[in-house]
Amino acid sequence: MLKLIWATIKERKWPVLIYSTSSILLLLLYVALYPSLQSQNQQLAEVMKNMPESFLKAFGMSSSLLTNFTLESLLASKQFSLVFQVLAAILAISIAGNDLSGEIEKGTIEFLLSQPISRLKLYFARFLSGVVLLTFFVAVSTLLAVPLAEAFNVTYVASNYYKLFLVAELYSLAVYSIAYFLSALFSSKGRVYGISAGLITAMYIAYLFAALKDSLDNLKYISFFHYFSADVLFSGTIDKVGIFIFSLIIIIGIGIGAVIFKNRDIATS
């Protein structure tokens, strides 16, 4: 199984390295810009005070972020309000699509299934390789802020980044699990991409509506963007319900996917 995991990691490494590099460059940009932004903090706070609070919230910001302007508040409003969530979702969906349905679509699944490995072993080997790759991406996108802040002599709260890593990891794995379940179900990766991306977009729209209109506030509970908000970085408080929801989705998605993949017909055209 380890051989299969390692072979898959080597196979899928390039997109992960490219996404990780992009994420690192963004982190570097914000950390490097932080000292100069801090000096303009008062002006920015004045501008943002005039904006409706619900509008700021919809885009992962609040006026309190600026009244207490820290590296965490900057990253929370810029990097981890939407950019990271989108990057992680695209990467997770693309890895999942290639893992199973991509192999069926290309016809290479027969080569794998003709080897003396069980379907479940193949299923979990592919899943675990995806977990390793996503964990690498999430780790460099979150935890690397600590050494970068150190390098630029910026004050930071290290424990908040560890908490951010935990929530970001669970969010990424929850998206991955949904896409991986779809990958076990369908023989075309286009369907996996389409349905997964559609779900994430729908969740984001629900989150926006919930933030913009009080009467639609309950919509936020169906959105991953509510459970993984940038608050964790700013406030250092983990949403335990979010942790539970993400964990539940990971377990259910992977469990049902395993049953489907074990029992379905796998035939290339």
């Binding site: 051989k3 072979a7 016809g107 080569f111 299934l113 003709s114």
Partner: protein, 321 residues
């Protein structure tokens, strides 16, 4: 002889399409078993069930006495499989495919020998290979880990005659040393040349499982005679068809009992007479052709001709007809 592959009443339907509809047969140790049928007859579906890629609705597949689904992993250690379409990783080299398989199945003892025999460069990228080289890669992957059983779907498609010959020799030697081969093919001369027995599948049903030597003995004859002033129409009946009549030379094809024709011929003054068994290809065509029988003429309603027309829906088909 030990039974190596056993299929009992295998059924696989895709919705209303009866791809495989209750087939049964046995392949014994050391045998080369040819699996014949036109496109859509159910050959690949049967093979995919044997390889546990797809699951039958009914029936049982046993390989080496084990259940092909429950014991799939341990069986695949002993099976060399070749798909009808060689689909591998385009950006991998040929050698990387071998390395990957060896990582999962253990080191191959005959890889260098196979590479030499089939003349394949392991440094080439799969995406740059010709269709013949892709087929060579499939063959080597099927043979390289010392399998006990070979399950091959159209193995010599796209191979040139020299390589086909090399492959046939390898397979014959493999069977002589105790290996068992199950291969589907469209190539009748190949089947005639290397197979011990054939199973013929049509519309998902087995219509014949015979030894090649017994198929050749099917009561089908080419009759040629030379006689002046004879009306060949007197020989035509439901079993005898006139192929040609030129300058007193009459060619007939006979299916079934030849004695009625012999009696008629005894009433005619003959200058020459020759009776031979028809070719194996003609016999197969008797099963294959939907409209033409072995004589190249429309099949009789009660004939076994016209059997092969791909998988279809029996009830619907009857209504349509």
């Amino acid at each position: 002889m030990a039974k190596v592959i056993e299929l009992h009443n295998l059924v696989k339907h895709f919705g209303e399409v009866h791809a495989v509809d209750g087939i049964s047969f046995v392949v014994e140790k050391g045998e080369i078993f040819g699996f014949l049928g036109p496109n859509g007859a159910g050959k690949t579906t049967t093979i995919r069930c044997m390889m546990d890629f797809i699951r039958p609705q009914e029936g049982e597949i046993k390989i080496l006495g084990k259940d092909a689904q429950k014991d799939s992993v341990s069986l695949k250690e002993k099976i060399g499989y070749l798909s009808d379409t060689p689909l591998f990783y385009g950006h991998w080299s040929v050698g990387k495919h071998f390395a990957f398989q060896q990582a999962l199945r253990g080191c191959s003892k005959n890889l260098s020998n196979l590479l030499e025999k089939f003349d394949l460069n392991p440094k080439l990228r799969f995406s740059s290979l010709s269709s013949g080289n892709k087929r060579k890669l499939s063959i080597i992957l099927a043979l390289m880990n010392n399998p006990e059983i070979l399950i091959l779907d159209e193995p010599t498609l796209a191979l040139d005659p020299l390589l086909q010959n090399a492959f046939h020799l390898y397979i014959e030697n493999f069977a002589k040393t105790g290996g068992t081969v199950f291969m589907s093919s469209h190539n009748l001369s190949e089947v005639e040349k290397i197979c011990d027995r054939v199973g013929i599948i049509k519309d998902g049903k087995m219509v014949a499982v015979e030894k090649i030597s017994e198929l050749k003995l099917m009561k089908m004859y080419d009759v040629s005679f030379h006689s002046e002033n004879v009306n060949p129409k007197i020989f035509a009946d439901k079993n005898t068809q006139i192929v040609s009549h030129t300058n007193g030379i009459v060619l007939l094809k006979v299916k079934g009992d030849i004695n009625p024709l012999i009696k008629k011929l005894a009433t005619v003054k003959l200058k020459d007479l020759e009776i031979t068994h028809v070719s194996l290809e003609d016999i197969f065509m008797e099963f294959y052709s939907p409209q033409l029988n072995a004589f190249g003429n429309p099949a009789a309603e009660n004939s076994t001709a016209g059997l092969f027309n791909g998988a279809r829906i029996p009830s619907k088909q009857n209504k349509d007809n």
